[in-house]
Subunit: 109 residues, 2 copies
């Protein structure tokens, strides 16, 4: 594979990696409803504040969320609309897998 292509796929993978964690998916999903500060999301996730802060840094680095300072707080917001399609795709695959598993079970019985 040419170096150029490899770099392109690595750039894409960096964004995909940011999406590849249950907590980050939760945070993104929550941010689709409304902007939130770190404390709020820390409660939501039920994890240490430093952990949530790091997850948010990863999302921000990938360009998936934006931050705005409000006094001592950092308010995070969604930065790309296309996530709706991404979540829908995940659901679609999940449903398809479930259907296939059911078909297998019925075959056995």
């Amino acid at each position: 594979m040419p170096v150029r292509s490899r770099q392109l796929y690595e750039a894409r993978a960096k964004i995909a990696k940011a999406l590849a964690h249950p907590v980050r998916l939760l945070l993104l999903d929550a941010l689709r409803d409304k902007d939130m500060c770190v404390m709020e999301m820390t409660k939501l996730a039920g994890l240490d504040q430093s952990t949530v802060s790091k997850h948010l840094a990863i999302l921000k680095e990938a360009g998936l969320v934006g931050v705005q300072k409000a006094g001592p707080m950092s308010v995070y917001s969604i930065r790309c609309q296309c996530l709706d399609g991404f979540f829908a795709c995940l659901e679609s695959v999940l449903r398809q897998n479930l259907k296939e598993q059911q078909a297998l079970v019925e075959l056995e019985s």
Copy 2:
């Protein structure tokens, strides 16, 4: 976070994780054009056969690709159409990030 929700996000994350690697993105992208056997994809990726085989196993486990035996060969194929939207989303975020970086550079000069 309720256990139920956590499990839902973990199921989604499992699929997202399968997407979160440059080589797997390459393979999926290639499979969008045509079905391929392992040897073909091994050449394409320029990696060891065992490595490619493992990446394919991950994609299969996530339900993103399917396999069909053809004699001694395994022919892999895309199993979900919604990947088009996913790739488009990655491109969109990449373009947006690039635009933002350019804006920053212009601000400095």
